[in-house]
């Protein structure tokens, strides 16, 4: 496991994990289940311990599982997912309602029936807010824009939101189960279809998990190409988000202009990488397609020009008083709330949490770079916009540097994947910490767990809503910019 910072397997059992969470200085990174050969379910806790060390705990579930949610609310959705998918009874969870299954889910269609299979019921009760003048506003799953499906239930008085409750998993596709039994190289294609706009980050995270499992090192040129793809994806995501934020305050010019900048980057990708979103370019062991020196330089020029243009436009946009009026103090996510929910990515960095996988658990080419990661502490829409603007500039610099210092040599090495192994990998995707856990048996995927930053961050969105007006919800939601499919899988 030499590939990614510090990672220790078999750190202890369930009790040790819960004790460490109780001690308060470890962050819950993921909590997931698996079915052992004898058919009994196991659970695995991944914690980020002090001094940035990923530590994996776990063990078989004997009877009921003591809830970690009572210790840290960040465990809540994970345990609800375990309850739905594995039928594991969780003792002491304050709200063990269905997460994955909805009403009308047919009896018997239970994905991972373990030993203690509970009957599936999709019945869900929203919290009822009572009082004079309180109304409920249901929104979704089909939304007004070109976006993914999800349900939001607002309780409002007049314009002011008192409470927001989420109901997601409309796009649950059973992706993790779908991967099981596939040959290792084919898993990349499913990883790319978890969250389409971050497909390259998913591909790299999956491939790194394979490489870590089989103790393979990607050649320097492959690592440099991956960095270019990852940072380009981040630029595209952040530029799109800043434009959409402007669109949500009815500022159409920057909204249209950023769409143009985004398209310029996608078209440059097509010219030099053959694909708009870098799908199909990553493979276990490295990359599938090289980039000639002049192609790389031309892509670099387009990136540099776009970054300059965007920086100027973004600065002018944020200097506009009506934008400041709408962005500032809106959708406040306090630091202690962000920490309690173990929020990651730009949302965490805008609320004063210093988290970035690239710096804390460096991988690939990031292991040799000194990174300057921007942070803000105000936790509002403005802070999240600023983080994205600043990170775009940094990504452009990283791409320029990678092209400038592009190593020569191979872009990939063969991976002896037709064996059995276990691996793990984390990547800082545009939305934050993205994690793959992979168990391979004789060259086939036996278990693949995908923790997307969106799954982690969605529960924080309702915490940023109370006291805001309902008309600001699209703006606040966009400032988090979470993937529905990434969360639902």
């Amino acid at each position: 496991m030499s590939q990614q910072g510090h990672y220790s397997r078999n750190s202890g059992g369930i009790a040790e994990a819960l004790a460490l969470l109780k001690a308060g200085n470890s962050r819950l990174v993921s909590l997931f289940g698996s079915i052992e050969d004898d058919g009994t379910p196991s659970v695995h806790y991944l914690l980020d311990a002090e001094k940035h060390e990923y530590r994996l705990f776990g063990g078989q579930v004997q009877g009921v599982l003591p809830s970690a949610t009572a210790i840290t609310p960040s465990a809540s959705w994970y345990e609800r997912e375990l309850h739905d998918l594995y039928g594991i009874e969780i003792e002491g969870h304050p709200n063990l309602q269905p997460l994955v299954f909805h009403e009308g889910w047919p009896a018997g269609v239970h994905p991972r029936s373990g030993c203690c299979n509970t009957p599936v019921s999709g019945e869900y009760k929203f919290l009822k807010v009572d009082g004079e003048g309180v109304c409920e506003v249901p929104v979704g799953p089909v939304h007004a824009g070109i976006i993914e499906p999800g349900h939001f239930r607002f309780s409002v008085v007049g314009d002011t939101v008192l409470h927001l409750e989420l109901r997601h998993f409309y796009t649950h596709k059973g992706t993790e189960a779908r991967m099981e039994g596939m040959q290792v190289p084919s898993g990349v294609m499913l990883a790319e279809a978890v969250s389409g706009d971050n497909c390259f980050a998913h591909a790299v995270a999956y491939c790194q998990a394979v490489e870590n499992a089989f103790d393979i090192s990607v050649p320097p040129r492959g690592r440099a190409l991956r960095l270019i793809g990852l940072e380009l994806e981040r630029m595209i995501a952040h530029i799109t988000d800043v434009g959409a934020l402007c669109g949500d305050v009815a500022f159409a010019v920057p909204s249209a202009y950023t769409a143009r900048l985004r398209e310029a980057l996608l078209r440059a990708s097509t010219r030099f990488a053959g694909t708009r979103f870098w799908r199909g370019l990553c493979r276990p062991g490295g990359m599938r397609r090289d980039m000639a020196w002049d192609e790389a330089r031309a892509l670099g020029e387009c990136v540099a020009e776009t970054a300059r243009d965007f920086a100027e436009l973004a600065q002018k946009s944020l200097e506009t008083p009506s934008v400041q009026n709408r962005f500032e103090t809106t959708g406040l996510l306090k630091r202690d709330v962000a920490r309690a929910l173990a929020v990651v990515g730009p949302v965490a960095r805008a609320s004063g949490l210093r988290l970035d996988v690239r710096r804390d658990h460096p991988y690939g080419r990031y292991r040799t770079l000194a990174l300057d990661i921007p942070h803000h502490s105000s936790g509002d829409v403005m802070a999240r916009a600023r983080i994205r603007i600043e990170e775009t500039a940094i990504s452009a610099r990283l791409i320029a540097q990678a092209i400038e210092e592009m190593p020569s040599g191979a872009i990939a090495v063969p991976v002896p994947w037709q064996a059995s192994a276990e691996g793990f990998s984390a990547v800082e995707s545009p939305r934050g910490e993205l994690l793959y856990f992979l168990r391979v048996r004789d060259g086939r995927i036996q278990r693949c767990h995908i923790k997307s930053p969106s799954f982690q961050n969605w529960p924080a969105l309702p915490m940023a809503m109370p006291g805001n007006i309902i008309a600001d919800f699209p703006l606040i939601n966009k400032s988090f910019n979470l993937s529905y499919s990434g969360c639902d899988r």
Partner: protein, 267 residues
Amino acid sequence: MIFDVAAHSLASKKVLLPIEQLLGDCTGSRMPEVDCGRLNFGLACQAVAACPTTALRLEEQNGIRQLVLDYGQCTGCGNCIETGGGALRAAATGVPSGVARSALIRRWDADHCSEFAAQQVAMDTTARKIRALLGRALNIRQVDAGSCNGCEAEIGALTSPYYDLERLGIHFVASPKHADMLLVTGPVTRNMCEALRHTYEATPSPKLVVAVGACGCSGGFFQGSYAVIGAVGAVIPVDGYIPGCPPTPAMLLTGILQVLQGRARNS
């Protein structure tokens, strides 16, 4: 300030692409096509073996061995191009879009290097014809019935200054009640099935339904998953299919216009 932003935008040069350049184009889609001059049975077998779905397959009809390529199932993984010994290459044009499900399938004689009569319909590309086709406007309601958001990312790009769908009178509307066309991405999940049916019912007739992407056309990688019903066509009637994983903005535009042209021809 607001005027600085406007001035910045006005100072930039125009990027709008002419319609003629977009129709039929599928550059960057990663969709393959057969290079007839290089195809032989051995290479066809290699390509079929490399396909992770059943998009590429061999069929025998009247004693002729055919290489069948179903774009509705193709995810553009590139395996066939990588292993097909030059018999397959990345397509720049020629991928059908906005046609019937069966018309997404192309067939080649695996032994004699020729394509069986393609069912492709030529698009009339003049701007005047396109306007005539649209009448005054086309209102589209996009419905994500379970996609990975890759298709949404590309559909969203259609409104950018490069493509500017509004120049043709095509608008994305906020409610199915305002829509003439539903642009549906898949695969249709169990949890979205009912919402998709309701959205279809809420759309006034006459209405058009277009299934988008490999998942929308065929269920893609997710066909057979416990959580997925399947292709859009398994849930509501579909008028045209746009393949791709995801389809490029040019393929989407081609497909939308093709569905309208098919409709005009049939009515």
